[in-house]
């Protein structure tokens, strides 16, 4: 199996590459700790800020090691610091890296969607400036996309960018920025034209998170997590050279941005790992069974039915993800079909939290200070809807399935006139 690169040089055989990667990994990368679950929403004893920063530093360092080893940016052109190999090489590498720690937490959003968007829409100068730094772990990128009044409507952004000579002034607020408070750079969607239909007045910019006028606030979630941030932009200056894509053509950038964001569940050539299945904490089947034993309810058929339901739905989700992924790849389902596993997964995860709460009974709402797993059950229940909200609500998934997959009539839209005139409701301006 060999192939010819664009410049005519022979590419390394995938098997040989895999063997080389295997040897290098054994030599250079630390083993994964499957119990580590730092960045996932259901963690109850959420990491302190210092722990997050320490992990970020580890990620940067691991990314640097990959770069130095010649395994960063496997499908990225050489002139930007990549290896210019094929998706098959990346897939092989991802297979090999299983069991090793790797910079999982910066794959999204740094490589997808940010690097992917830069590769498609960035100027040569922008690419040369940022992509090597990304691949070396020196620039962590985040997404300034959602807005407080925006909900599921990405195209309804009201953060404004006003031209001022060869620079832009950005004003507004962004929210739900993962890693916002420790990221280095950002892609930012802003409105540059209020007198056209909403999709036609948007532009994408890049800017450093340290830009003057950019204020960052960590958002505390009900389970104590402070991963997400809200940003307030007050006359933030962005040189026109940092604009990504054409003025008012932001939606064509966004289409790809959102596409690349979705490839987190598989299919991206830019992501390393994707991999070590995170420990589901109290929701691991064995953990549920052990809890039931401890609570003396393991012989109770209702308890067993709950455990059986949890396991069944996790198996069904696995089958569904595999089957839909395969059907999309072979074209027997359109890419909108991805909304089905999203919907199923969201509701199954929410239900899983309810199952654990029901199984634990009073032990899931009051716990000894050192009983971390019971605390995870309690706080996991409080945050459970995050599974049906984050990354596009289950309601939006249902819309997509109905309208795009089943071809049912589209919802009546009241936002097709000039964006300036679109009703935004009494609370559109406030944070909530």
């Amino acid at each position: 199996m060999s192939a010819i690169a664009q410049d005519g040089a022979a590419l390394e055989d995938v098997d040989a590459f895999a063997a080389r990667a295997r040897a290098w990994l054994a030599e250079n990368m630390p083993p994964a700790d499957p119990a580590k679950d730092t960045f996932f929403l259901h963690a109850a004893t959420h990491p302190a800020d210092e722990e997050v920063l320490a992990r970020a530093a580890t990620c940067r360092e691991l990314q640097r090691r990959l770069f130095d080893g010649g395994f960063a940016g496997i499908c990225v052109p050489r002139q930007y610091g990549g290896q210019e190999l094929t998706p098959a090489h990346q897939t092989a590498f991802n297979r090999e890296i299983k069991g090793y720690d790797y910079p999982a937490e910066i794959q999204a959003s740094t490589f997808i969607p940010c690097m992917a968007v830069l590769l498609e829409f960035g100027t040569e100068e922008q690419k040369l400036r940022h992509i090597p730094r990304m691949l070396r772990g020196e620039e962590i990128w985040v997404q300034l996309l959602s807005e407080p009044g925006g909900g599921s409507d990405a195209a309804g952004a009201v953060t404004s960018a006003t031209r001022d000579g060869d620079r832009w002034l950005l004003n507004g607020s962004k929210i739900w920025t993962t890693s916002g408070w420790w990221g280095d750079w950002a892609l930012c969607l802003a409105r540059t034209n209020w007198d056209v239909e909403k999709h036609r007045g948007l532009t994408v910019f890049s800017l450093p998170m340290s830009a003057p006028g950019l204020q960052i606030r960590q958002i505390e979630l009900v389970n104590g997590s402070k991963d997400f941030c809200q940003e307030f932009l007050t006359d933030v200056v962005v040189p026109d050279a940092d604009r990504i894509g054409d003025v008012d053509a932001g939606w064509s950038v966004m289409t790809r941005w959102l596409y690349h964001e979705r490839t987190i569940s598989g299919g991206s050539p830019y992501v390393t790992g994707g991999g070590n299945r995170p420990n589901a904490g109290p929701y691991e089947l064995a953990a549920l069974i052990e809890a039931a034993r401890r609570l003396g309810t393991i012989d109770d058929s209702t308890t067993r039915a709950l455990i059986g339901e949890a396991q069944t739905s996790s198996l069904v989700l696995r089958a569904l993800v595999e089957s839909v992924t395969h059907k999309m790849a072979t074209g027997s389902l359109p890419h909108h079909a991805a909304a089905m596993p999203r919907l199923f997964g969201g509701t199954a995860n929410a239900r899983r939290a309810a199952i654990a709460t029901e199984l634990y009974g009073d032990a899931g709402v009051v716990w000894a200070p050192d009983d971390e797993i019971a605390a995870q059950v309690g706080l996991g229940y409080l945050i459970r809807q995050a599974a049906c909200i984050g990354g596009g609500t289950t309601e939006m998934a249902r819309n997509v399935i109905a309208e795009r997959l089943l071809g049912m009539p589209r919802e009546h839209r009241a936002d097709t006139s000039a964006f300036r005139d679109v009703p935004r409701g009494p609370r559109a301006s406030g944070a909530h």
Partner: protein, 380 residues
């Protein structure tokens, strides 16, 4: 939400005004950061509003406003739920009811009077479970004029520094148990705080090591604890249902407003039919929850023959749909709904806590079946 007399309306309104002024959501979040959430002055004022006397007979110093003290207290519990308010409302009232009905004169003069005045609060150690793991296990032995208690009550509510625990204890594990009232400050009582889902209603584990209480601190005839726990469980179930209905009402109300104010794709969220239908379902569940809680309060408060079925159905139903309703409200809010600074989780926490303590919804559904079986036995 309930059909009430003018006096009950007045009790509810004064309670509402007091809680709204004393415990606005920001205050609840602030309380959450404290070690203790009990404020003696605030609780005392609540007692003056009538929060502690309603389940106690007039002869024992209590008194209701409508003749059905449980129905009166339901409105107070409802407001506690609406404000996710701190304060050991349910435990104190349940124990006061026990003392009022079955307590000695000495208990009436001392602890009960303190509870009624708001100078002390009380916790009830009962924690019925489906599984084989018992909750409180306490042994009692006579010793001179008093009784020596040894054991643990692993999950009881925290309250005032001056507080009492009502616990069932027997000479041996399977024997007929009696209720004893234990002052938390008695020698040999050890307390360790627990974590939990509610921000302001706290709990603790209690260990009793050779704790001596006077014989007069036995509550009720010897061996009546199990029967009495069932009676008290009816009261607790109704009051918890009341709190949950309050939490549901507030969450629903916030969400209905949100669907009006929030625009999505140029239209109010509430103009989307799927949202409308969900709100209709939630509204119906809210009404049904209020209806069964009220009915249960009537029947239990009036000691009707089918009271226990109603109390059990109330907790089984409201405990099941209450937290789920609030979760749906979170979903309808989107991301903002899972932030600490939004109020919704206050009601989610309270509804979930009430649903799971003093018997889960599943426990009460099982209790409903036991009651039907008992009726069938009698009929046969």
């Amino acid at each position: 939400m309930f059909t009430q007399t003018a006096d009950q309306d007045l009790l509810e309104t004064t309670t509402e005004q007091y809680l709204a002024a004393t415990f606005p959501p920001e205050r609840i979040r602030e309380f959450a950061r404290r070690d203790s959430t009990f404020d003696a002055t605030l609780w005392k004022r609540g007692a003056e509003l009538g929060w502690t006397t309603l389940l106690v007979p007039e002869a024992a110093g209590g008194g209701s406003v409508s003749g059905n003290g449980l129905a009166d207290l339901l409105a107070v519990a409802f407001q506690f739920g609406r404000h996710a308010a701190p304060g050991p409302l349910i435990g104190t009232n349940v124990v006061a009811a026990a003392l009022g009905r079955w307590g000695s004169g000495e208990l009436h003069g001392g602890p009960l009077a303190q509870l009624l005045d708001g100078d002390a609060t009380a916790a009830w150690a009962h924690a019925p479970r489906m599984g084989s793991c018992a909750s409180a296990v306490v042994r009692a032995a006579r010793s001179g004029d008093g009784v020596v208690l040894d054991g643990t009550a692993p999950l009881v509510e925290s309250g005032a520094p001056k507080g009492y625990l009502l616990v069932a204890a027997g000479a041996d594990e399977d024997g007929a148990r009696s209720h004893y009232l234990v002052p938390f400050d008695a020698p040999g009582v050890r307390i360790s705080p627990l974590g939990g889902i509610d921000l302001v209603r706290r709990h603790q584990a209690v260990t009793l090591r050779e704790v001596v209480v006077p014989a007069a601190y036995r509550v009720g005839e010897p061996g009546t604890a199990d029967v009495h726990d069932e009676v008290l469980l009816d009261l607790a179930a109704v009051l918890q249902a009341g709190e949950i209905v309050g939490a549901m009402e507030r969450a629903f109300d916030l969400t209905l407003r949100w669907t009006r104010d929030r625009y999505s794709f140029g239209r109010p969220l509430g103009s989307y039919q799927e949202i409308k239908h969900r709100m209709a379902d939630l509204r119906t569940q809210l009404e049904a929850s209020a209806a069964v809680a009220e009915k249960a309060a009537r029947h239990v408060g009036e000691d009707r023959p089918d009271a226990r079925s109603w109390a059990s159905a109330a907790k089984a139903y409201v405990g099941r749909v209450g937290p789920e309703l609030v979760q749906d409200c979170v979903q309808l809010h989107g991301g903002i709904g899972v932030t600490f600074e939004h109020d919704l989780h206050l009601y989610l926490r309270r509804a979930t806590l009430d649903a799971q303590l003093f018997g889960t919804p599943a426990y009460f559904a099982e209790r409903v079946v036991r009651l039907v079986e008992a009726d069938m036995e009698e009929g046969a």
